[in-house]
Amino acid sequence: MSEEVGFAIMPLPLLLSLPLVLLAVGGYAVAAAHRPGCSRLVYGVTLTIAAVTLGLALAHLLTAAVPATLALPLGLPWLGAHFRLDALSAFFLIVANLSGGVASLFALGYGQHEHAPERVLPFFPAFLAGMNLVLLADDAFTFLFAWEFMSLSSWALVLAHHQDPANARAGYLYLVMACFGTLALLLTFGLLAGPDGGYNFAAIRAGQPTPGLAALVLILALLGAGSKAGLVPLHVWLPLAHPAAPSHVSALMSGVMTKVAVYGFIRIVFDLLGEPVVWWWGGVVLALGGITAVLGVLYALMQHDLKRLLAYHTVENIGIIFIGLGLALAFQANQMYSIAALALTAALFHVLNHSLFKSLLFLGTGAVLTATGERDMERLGGLIHPMPWTALAFLIGAAAISALPPLNGFVSEWLTFQAILISPELPQWLLRFLVPAVGALLALSAALAAACFVKAFGITFLGRPRSPAAARARETDRYSLSALFALATLCLLAGILPGLVVDGLAPVVGLLNGGARLAAQYSQPWLTLVPVGEVKSTYNGLLVLLFMALSGTVAAGLIHRLASNAARRGPAWDCGFPEASPATQYTAGSFAQPIRRVFGSIVFQARERVTMPPPGDSRPARLEVELHDPVWERGYAPVANAVVAISTRFNYLQYLTIRRYLSLVFGALVLLLLGMVLWR
């Protein structure tokens, strides 16, 4: 017994000292960013530290150790800084440091091409340290401090290439939204702590909020964590900010920082808020998740910028995760804990999966960006010839995010659907109608995602080069390739051995679900995944892989066997390209056009206009597409306009005399004192 306790308490101080090392490396990089080996050193250290953190967290989760806590005399004097390592934070530490480590490995090669290393190297370790600290924090002050630290260091990374006005705008919008999100979280913790100011998470857990207060906390947590995660309609900053950063940072922001936001939501709603769950909470989260999933993928389809497309897919996947969380809330509210465990497992599994394949895809885009200098798909093409390995890894990632078996994306979405299929057992009629509708949205988004990645992979890697830069591309370096294939392998492994991941998630689910978890999967024969019962549904990724391999081999063999070797003569088929110009190929725009016609005319008020020059005019005919972003135009633009109008109105306050300013202060003071007297 004493040994067990000793083991449980040991890792936390070590885990806390690692971010300090990261900060020290960041500090070193401030001074030495331009020295020749500094980039290698920084990324080497972040890789090592991420690996150590990953190992410690994995050990904690797999041994199902008791939660370890630690209080340090830092921060607010009457509160101190509290840290805690439990199954939930261990799982998210694994997610964060897996991607963090692989992104560092990638950057060992990719970082060499960075032309402004002094703007990236100091902040990358700080960003990683901030995310790890958020996951370990055990009081509101430490949590918010680490959260802001994470936001600000990532903001600095977004502005790494600040000369581009688009990046500057992205950074500004990100900062505004991050402030808004933190404000919401601040209010959340304020409500949770109550008037006595019990900001320690242990004290918050012990408290019993009234239903009205709890509902307010849920809404605020949705606003605060949702704005960081990218829930529609709080997502507007995300597709601008994530692509603006260097690619390995984009991978971390999309793959990990959004997960840290999901962690914040889970920590507040499932852990801190405790039991009093009302059924409509699940409905709200579900509806938001469904809308986010579909809108995210529709936005993504309209994009021709590879990184922005990926960023919009992050929005979509966050929607899928929130669908799982909403289902879990709905089932928990009806005391159906075994099914809530299924939904939670699905959501957490998707958290892991999305961090894997989104990092893979962003890193792959980084490789393409280094090779060609292009992010616009319309200027890429044919890259599978010069960059076959990158193309293979990107294809695996694309198949995984499109939820194709036997890869990991399929498993988590399949699990989500299993939970959706049990929804008719819910007693509330509204939920009985809502959940299948959200299921339909989920199915729609999965199909659209597949369409989107056919476009992304096909236009980027297949066909012929659409620009000289794409024609000159070369395969990326070995560090980057090993990072890409590490992630691709993990995507495949998590897809064919899902039972192991589900078992690994069991302690986390038990922690959030009052002890109820899915049955252990390792005892199932042939590593089959049996979430509810054998009569309902089973999935075996290994079998699917074997079947695909076998049928593929047999088909290839048969074709080789039966096809004739005799030479045939026929008219030369020009593949539909009578001219040699690469402009005659299918483009990203042409891939998106059918879907734009079906959905875009409603959602984005898409209008197409063809301008034909009059006869005799030598100008080419033009097809112009006009898209409107409904969220921006209806939600944000009015607010921004109102702020500008009000500030213009009060601008004269900047040009008063000293006496006027003094009079204002004096008047305000007297008014407040008067208010005090009268109000009493």
Binding site: Y655, I658, V670, L674
Partner: protein, 221 residues
């Protein structure tokens, strides 16, 4: 004895309010400085008396600081500044003594109305002291708001600060370090303001705030 101690403390704190009123209607610069010296002297007495009845010996230091710096050094320094600037003959245009007096009276009433209910639990001495201190602070602000001359602004600021010290002395348990640092900050403020006065004068040939304002750039109507 207790009754007498209370009465004297009351008298001195009330005296500060009265002197603040005296400050309000001085229209000559020298007279303003002299009254300010009187203000600081009364403050020193009030703090010293508090030190005696509270048996808080560190308050004697505060009283000493008030006496030496605020009653002697700062008024003398301001005298010399005024002399060197050559503005000792300028008449301050006070907007209307009656108006200011009425406003000041209202402010004192406000201070008492605010402070007495808030400090219902504290002992009578601290309550009176705090109410008078707030009144002195408000009167100092009023002085700053109603005057045009930069020197008057400085004096208003200093008298406001005197009110703060009075409040600090009345509240028991205020550490000495805080009072000393406040005193030093005032000294530094004096030096900075003095330098600025000369700079302003060099540039604009006047220390009238109204005159300065016309030079401001980018002014929009």
């Amino acid at each position: 004895m207790r009754g007498l101690a209370f009465d004297i403390a009351h008298l001195l704190a009330g005296g500060m309010v009265v002197v603040s009123f005296l400050l309000l209607y001085q229209d000559r610069v020298y007279a303003l400085l002299n009254v300010f010296a009187l203000h600081s002297l009364v403050l020193a007495l009030a703090v010293g008396w508090q030190a005696y009845i509270q048996e808080a010996h560190h308050l004697y230091v505060t009283a000493g600081i008030a006496l030496i710096f605020k009653a002697v050094v700062i008024p003398t320094a301001l005298h010399r500044i005024v002399q060197r600037l050559g503005i000792h003959r300028t008449l301050e245009v006070v907007g209307g003594v009656g108006r200011d007096m009425l406003a000041g009276t209202a402010l004192v009433a406000l201070a008492i109305l605010v402070m007495l209910p808030v400090t219902a639990g504290a002992d009578a001495l601290a309550r009176e002291d705090l109410a008078f201190a707030l009144a002195v602070v408000l009167l100092g602000l009023l002085l700053m708001v109603t005057r045009q001359n930069a020197v008057s602004l400085v004096v208003g600021f200093m008298s406001l600060e005197n009110g703060l010290v009075l409040a600090a002395a009345g509240a028991r348990g205020m550490p000495l370090a805080v009072e000393i640092s406040v005193a030093f900050s005032v000294l530094i403020a004096l030096i900075v303001i003095g330098v600025f006065l000369f700079r302003i004068r060099e540039r604009f040939d006047s220390v009238d705030m109204q005159a300065m304002d016309t030079f401001r750039e980018g002014r929009r109507k």
